[in-house]
């Protein structure tokens, strides 16, 4: 692949390709850069308008304001709680369910797998699910944001396939050494699956941190709203009073733009920070998948 022909059509191809990709990347990233720099600018400078990619003076005023309010700080703590505990539940339940299903000799395995697959094709939908959650008394509790989404059928199937790749010889030798199935799962299978667990952990965590609609549906108490719901009130509802939910006569109406921007940043940075931290596991996961037994 290294010995590329250096003729003109190849050069043209490369030039067009690299320029287009650069352009697309810029379009993707500029809105973020813009929001971040606006959040550090002074309200007066923002009010002047224009495309302000680099403010002339950095201030932390907007952030200071956000962290001095009860609402935003509380909602962030709630979101952290839901994300950490929810992701633990996700990973525990998903791996506990996937491991037995990875055993070809398990009786009833095909039936259960079929049962899982069907849920990917057809669902009861919003209203009946709401009533199930309600019947369990989970309305207005944080459980409603963690338990009804405890296992993703898709992640379960992928993790099951991942477990199947672990060589039988490892499991057999542990059995001979007197390890039972639980011991094998905790001492051999799960440690070997750390890259996969990290990847799914990230996916689940992103889901919990970004949870918005379930919270709107299951939470009645404004004191218990996670950060995305609060963010919507600050950024979207205060701008568009003709919006669709409960009338929000917020004091946020008078908030300067910079506070809206800073709120977006605060609600986004935690989850974006987790991503590079787990990215190295992505690479390992791919490696482990390619070097079989």
């Amino acid at each position: 692949m290294l010995a590329e022909d250096k003729n003109w059509s190849n050069r043209l191809f490369n030039t067009v390709n690299y320029s287009l990709l650069t352009l697309v990347s810029l379009i993707t990233i500029i809105p973020f850069v813009y929001i971040v720099s606006m959040s550090f600018a002074s309200p007066e400078e923002v009010a002047k308008g224009g495309l302000l990619l680099f403010p002339s003076k950095f201030t932390f005023g907007a952030y200071k304001y956000i962290f001095s309010t009860d609402t935003m700080v509380r909602s962030i703590l709630i979101s952290i709680y839901i994300t950490v505990l929810g992701t633990l539940i996700n990973l525990l339940l998903t791996s506990f369910t996937a491991y037995p299903l990875a055993k070809a000799t398990l009786r009833g395995r095909r039936t259960i797998l079929l049962m899982v697959l069907i849920t990917m094709l057809f669902s009861g939908g919003l209203i009946p699910t709401y009533f199930v959650v309600k019947a369990f008394g989970m309305i207005n509790t944080y459980w409603s944001l963690m338990i009804p989404t405890a296992i993703s059928a898709f992640n379960l199937i992928v993790l099951k396939n991942f477990f199947q790749q672990i060589p039988d010889s490892l499991v057999d030798s542990a059995k001979i050494d007197g390890c039972n199935d639980l011991g094998i799962l905790f001492r051999i299978v799960l440690p070997l699956s750390m890259p996969a667990m990290a990847t799914f952990g990230l996916f689940y965590a992103v889901g919990h941190w970004n949870t918005f609609f379930n919270a709107v549906m299951y939470m009645n108490d404004a004191e218990k709203f996670p950060v995305q719901v609060i963010l919507r009130q600050i950024v979207l509802l205060s701008q568009d009073q003709i919006g669709n939910t409960t009338s929000q006569q917020d004091p946020t109406d008078y908030l300067p733009q910079t506070i809206r921007m800073a709120s977006i940043v605060v609600a986004t940075v935690p989850i974006v920070l987790v991503y590079p931290f787990l990215q190295k596991h992505f690479a390992k996961g791919v490696l482990l998948g390619s070097v079989k037994g």
Binding site: S9, N17, F32, G49, L121, I127, R232, V235, I242, V272
Partner: protein, 320 residues
Amino acid sequence: MKEHYEAQLQLRHNYRFFKESLFIRDIVRDRWLYVILLPGVLYFIIFKYVPMFGLLMAFEDYKPHLGFMNSPWVGMKHFERFFSEPQFWMLFRNTILLAIYNLVFFFPLPIVLALMLNEVRIGIFKRFAQTLLYLPHFVSWVVAVGIFYVLFTTEGGVVNELIQKIGIEKIPFLLSEDWFRPMIISQSIWKEAGWGTIIFLAALSGVDLQLYEAARMDGAGRWRQLWHITLPAIRSTIVILFILRLGSFLDTGFEHIFLMLNSMNREVGEVFDTFVYMKGLTQGQYSYSAAVGMFKSLVGLVLVLGSNWIAKKFGEEGVY
């Protein structure tokens, strides 16, 4: 004769006993596996299958104080009401149009992007571009819609200020019927097109490099290699994703649309999902909105089974 028959019976009995004991032996051997399997199975029964059973409330007049069992049965009443309502056609049109726009404008983009990234020979450029393109996937729809709001609002949004500078009047991107669908689609593209490349890049990484070598020997340029080697290599991936996409054809992105809806664009923006939420949970018409939701789920099911069947007819692998 009789003895022979009895011996046969005995044999059969023994055999069955043998099989049963095998079965029980397997269950006992795997007892811990069943113990840890139980919570997951319960999860799927309670949160996936009970709601499916609960869809029966679409055929009754569900009253919370009467409960699921005692509410009166009304047959197809709610479905008949839904299909005869003028709103049905509005919802149908909005949902289908958004779904088609998604399929036409959004679906091909990750493929094109993946093909472009695959042609990049400078490793660091590729990794850098990928990291940037994946980023929006990790933000919530509230943040994505929020960013678009800040950029496109008529009150000091950058885009509108730039438009004004060129001498054109401000465009109410967020509060108009004409701009609703383009905004929805471009937001989806901005947020998910980059992430969508992952699966195609994975498929592309499996292509045998010798094929390219051979094609170059035969004098094929970059375009010909793309057309005759790269594209056929990911054809089955494209087909599978297309089928899956059709299965969720009517899932037009609930949170996304919910966040973008306002009184100015409701006429073009209301879709089945948001209608179910509004009628069901905010107005309390449970049975009626359950019927609407069921109609949507059934159409999705038919679409995915149908497209899978067609894909198999054309010799592709399909999902099942």
